[in-house]
């Protein structure tokens, strides 16, 4: 059942690096991360790789396998021919720290610029009421494990570092959509999504949806509806008139528009 797997693993740091050749014994049912761990334990003790749960739940072990953004722990060796060489490289959109570990601080910076949930007061009995059907849209987006593979694959920032300041990326469009669809949230973040987050730069090629290990329909269920909501606010003459005469669309009733910049409370 076991066989010798040929692997090419990128080794290096900010200064540069190259693919290293490794041959490692693997067995039935193993995933790429198992092979990398065995290389680490027997041939290269200092091979840097991020991982935690090894179950596709934490989103730590993101990398590119034969050029495709994937989780190392959820990519089975049986997906490849036994004779095939598997090449593992770090995510290309983020700066390398060492070997397969990249500097993903871009994502944590973007998270800080996004105002969080702000719910109104609870019901009189101290509880809140939301219907299952109304929370389900948000629940799909909250399945996100923050592996950042969608960010890695997105051509707006992949190989286009200059777009990074103006573009939050699919992971955070998901978050904007989640909050926008939250039944009890009180903020309206549409201006922010279009402006600071750069929603308009996305031209819905669906690459993010394709690589999402959670199978979230990022483009169809989050980005496109979010774009529609933003456009409604900007161009719909009825909305414009409604705003003028003090009538607001029901979806946004009671919501307060929030602006750019990091949101910090005392």
């Amino acid at each position: 059942m076991g066989y010798d797997l040929k692997m090419r693993i990128w080794r290096g740091d900010q200064e540069g690096g190259e693919l290293g050749d490794y041959t490692v014994e693997v067995s039935e049912g193993e995933v790429v991360l198992d092979a990398i761990h065995r290389v680490q334990a027997t041939q290269a003790g200092d091979l840097a790789v991020r991982w935690n749960c090894k179950a596709g739940k934490c989103g730590s072990c993101s990398a590119e396998i034969n050029g495709r953004p994937r989780l190392l722990c959820m990519t089975r060796l049986s997906d490849f021919d036994a004779g095939e060489t598997i090449t593992v490289t770090p995510m290309r959109t983020f700066p390398v720290i060492r070997d397969l570990v990249t500097d993903v601080s871009f994502n944590y910076e973007k998270a800080r610029q996004l105002p969080g949930a702000e719910l109104g007061p609870r019901d009189d009995d101290g509880k809140r009421r939301m219907m299952q059907i109304d929370v389900e849209r948000g629940q799909e987006f909250r399945k996100c494990i923050e592996c950042f593979l969608c960010q890695d694959t997105c051509h707006v920032v992949r190989d286009h570092d200059h777009n990074k300041p103006a573009f939050a990326g699919p992971r955070f469009f998901l978050r904007y959509a989640e909050l926008d669809m939250h039944p009890l949230d009180t903020h309206d973040r549409r201006v922010l999504a279009q402006g600071a987050a750069g929603l308009g730069l996305c031209n819905i090629t669906k690459c993010c949806t394709e690589v999402c290990p959670e199978g979230i329909k990022i483009t169809d269920n989050a980005i496109i509806p979010m774009k529609e909501r933003v456009v409604d606010r900007k161009y719909d003459p009825l909305v414009w008139l409604g705003n003028k005469i003090g009538l607001r669309p029901r979806d946004y009733e009671g919501r307060m528009e929030v602006g750019e910049g990091p949101v910090r409370r005392p």
Partner: protein, 632 residues
């Protein structure tokens, strides 16, 4: 998140401005409260400390949002009464104490049951989207050992929802987070001479010392309050549901600082871990599968749990399949299925069936929900499990049974703390979540972990902030201690010709699995202690290749010291407790002993600083008004 005081030349995430191979310097930061660990307990503690006005930092080994809490599946136990109005804190308290075989710290179990509902509501205030009842309230699901459906949940990914909600709250509040940063030593205030010997009562915290994983550069936190929230010890076992981070750091840091641990002999083996393929052996299969109707069968197709109902739970457990099946819809007139006994009971039963030769082809037994619920229900209620088996084992759980077996999951033992404040034996040092001890007694009920994190995380955060605010002057770190911490951390680079840490770790995992596992005997425990001594000796000369920048070999070498110390604590306590209770089963003492039911085993660092000593201590006695809940 950039730590406060960082300059623009620094790394935006880590606050680090130097390369790992650079010779100079060490970063220093001053805070009121430093929280070590960014799982549910650490983040909730940080939020509480921040809200109480303390300058607060969170330090964690992984990226923010990746801590082990993310793996929790089933839910948060809280007597909110949304499904069953009959439920209240008293019932939850009773279930918790009985699940822990009455060895729990009664006050912690009481506070936990009383405060859990409000802690869940807070998560909802902060944006969590729980599954709902038909009335739009937070839904609650059945779990082992809980009388009523009590677990607030989001499908089978409740831990992810919890950590993301807390993470987003921490970010929103602007709390400083030091990611991929490992704490290796706690620093004490005062004259070192004063700290010698047994004057533990005079010890107080002055700070914490560690290194950035990214660069290997050292970092010092000066703080009067440190909260340990480092999770468990499971990575010392071969078959485990725990991630690499679970190396007992908080347990070991507390011991070295002079604090005590209790209940270390109690390790929970979750009944249902994956057994195949080998690469995922030990990976958790949520108890919700059973809560939602799944049953356990042996290779003969027999629903064997009916053969393993202990006297302690007989009055409340169904003894026929018909009654068990009716219970899911009519809890008033039927008793619980035996599949939903507490985890220790179910794990032992599975172990016995496998040993008796009635196991599945890959050495487990069968967990079957496919023949019990329709595919749509299963995919809806258990999406992660569906995904996990489909992707990793090629098994469709809506069509065929799963193969499962026990896996090391949780340590009930941990730092001995004051129940109301989570203060350890060292002034200024607090411990919460899995690295603290007492709350769960000898066995934890499913769902009581996430609620534990929230309830005691908040209490510790408030207590730590309050203590820090009451200090007139800041504690002073002894520079000699800092130098010693540096030398100790770099030691593995100085050795020549030693062993690599991966080999020693593998040997430790095998030893703990074989000799300190689910069923224990005196001879094997003695053997394990000899083996651990041998491993400690080998670890003193282990060697690390490469340099300090993001070097997993070095990181493991440092974590391994903690794993060895904590493993010794577990083995020694397990050898001393000559009875079987909860997560401690002795083949040579198969029954609970009422005398042992009145005491805790307390672990402290020995005089050499490299091993541990044990003492017996009477269990706190609960007041009469609470005792009445247990009169039949």
């Amino acid at each position: 998140m950039a730590p406060t005081g960082s300059t623009t030349s620094r790394h935006p995430m880590t606050g680090n401005e130097m390369r790992g191979d650079s010779a100079a310097g060490m970063e220093r930061h001053a805070y009121d409260v430093v929280v070590v660990g960014a799982g549910g307990a650490g983040l909730r503690a940080a939020i509480a400390a921040h809200d109480a006005g303390a300058r607060t930092a969170v330090v964690c080994k992984s990226l923010l949002g990746k801590a082990h809490t993310v793996m929790a599946e089933g839910g948060i136990a809280a007597a909110m009464g949304n499904r069953w109005p009959e439920d209240n804190w008293e019932v939850h308290f009773r279930d918790t104490m009985r699940g822990g075989k009455m060895l729990n710290n009664w006050r912690m179990a009481q506070l936990h049951a009383q405060e859990a509902p409000e802690r869940v509501m807070e998560l909802e205030d902060w944006g969590a989207l729980f599954d709902r009842t038909e009335d739009g309230l937070i839904s609650q699901r059945d779990f082992g050992g809980h009388k009523y459906a009590r677990l607030a949940h989001v499908g089978d990914r409740t831990g992810l929802e919890m950590i993301r909600t807390l993470q987003q709250r921490v970010v929103q509040l602007g709390i400083d987070v030091f990611m991929e940063c490992t704490v290796t030593d706690l620093l004490l205030a005062g004259d070192r001479a004063d700290l010698a010997g047994d004057r533990a009562e005079s010890r107080s915290i002055a700070g914490a010392f560690g290194y950035w994983r990214e660069t290997g550069r050292f970092i010092l936190f000066e703080a009067p309050s440190v909260i340990l929230a480092t999770g468990g010890i499971g990575k010392s076992f071969k078959v485990t549901s725990n991630s690499w981070e679970y190396t007992g750091d908080g347990h070991a840091l507390a011991l070295r600082a002079g604090a005590s641990l209790i209940n270390m002999e109690f390790v929970q083996f979750h009944p249902t871990g994956m057994v195949w393929p080998p690469s995922v052996k030990g990976l958790l299969v949520t108890e919700s599968v059973r809560g939602d109707g799944g049953i356990l069968k042996n290779s003969e197709g027999r629903r064997f749990m009916f053969d393993y109902i202990p006297d302690f739970f007989r009055a409340e457990t169904a003894d026929t399949e018909e009654e068990a099946d009716r219970w899911y819809d009519d809890k008033k007139n039927n008793r619980r299925p035996p599949e939903l006994l507490p985890r220790d009971e179910v794990a032992r039963a599975i172990n016995s069936e496998i040993k008796a030769g009635r196991g599945s082809p890959h050495g487990g037994i069968y967990l079957d929900i496919a023949s019990r619920r329709d595919p749509e229900f299963i995919r809806k209620r258990l999406p992660s499990m569906y995904h996990q088996f489909k992707e990793l084992a090629d098994v469709d759980i809506t069509a065929e049974p799963m193969e499962i077996g026990p896996t090391c999951h949780y340590v009930m033992g941990g730092v001995e703390v004051d129940p109301d404040t989570e203060l350890s034996g060292v002034t200024g040092l607090y411990a919460v979540g899995e690295c603290s001890g007492g709350m769960h007694g000898s066995n934890r009920l499913g769902g009581n972990s996430l609620s534990d994190l929230l309830v005691f995380g908040r209490r510790a955060g408030e207590a730590a902030a309050s203590y820090a605010a009451g200090q007139g002057s800041r504690p002073v770190v002894d520079e000699a201690d800092v130098k010693a911490a540096e030398r100790s951390a770099l030691a593995p680079f100085d050795v020549e010709g030693g062993e690599n840490p991966y080999t020693i770790q593998q040997d430790l995992q095998q030893t703990m699995n074989d000799l300190v596992g689910i069923i224990r005997t005196a001879s094997e425990l003695e053997e394990s202690l000899t083996a651990i001594e041998g491993l400690k000796k080998r670890a003193r000369s282990m060697v690390v290749e490469g340099h300090r920048q993001y070097n997993p070999g070095w990181h493991l070498a440092l974590d391994l010291r903690n794993m060895l110390l904590v493993s010794e604590a577990i083995a020694r306590a397990a050898l001393a407790r000559e009875e079987s209770r909860g997560g401690h089963t002795r083949d040579d003492y198969p029954k609970p002993d009422p005398d042992w039911g009145t005491k805790n085993l307390v672990v402290r660092l020995d005089d050499t600083g490299s091993g541990v000593t044990l003492t017996e201590q009477p269990l706190p006695v609960m007041p009469d008004e609470l005792k009445s809940y247990f009169e039949e």
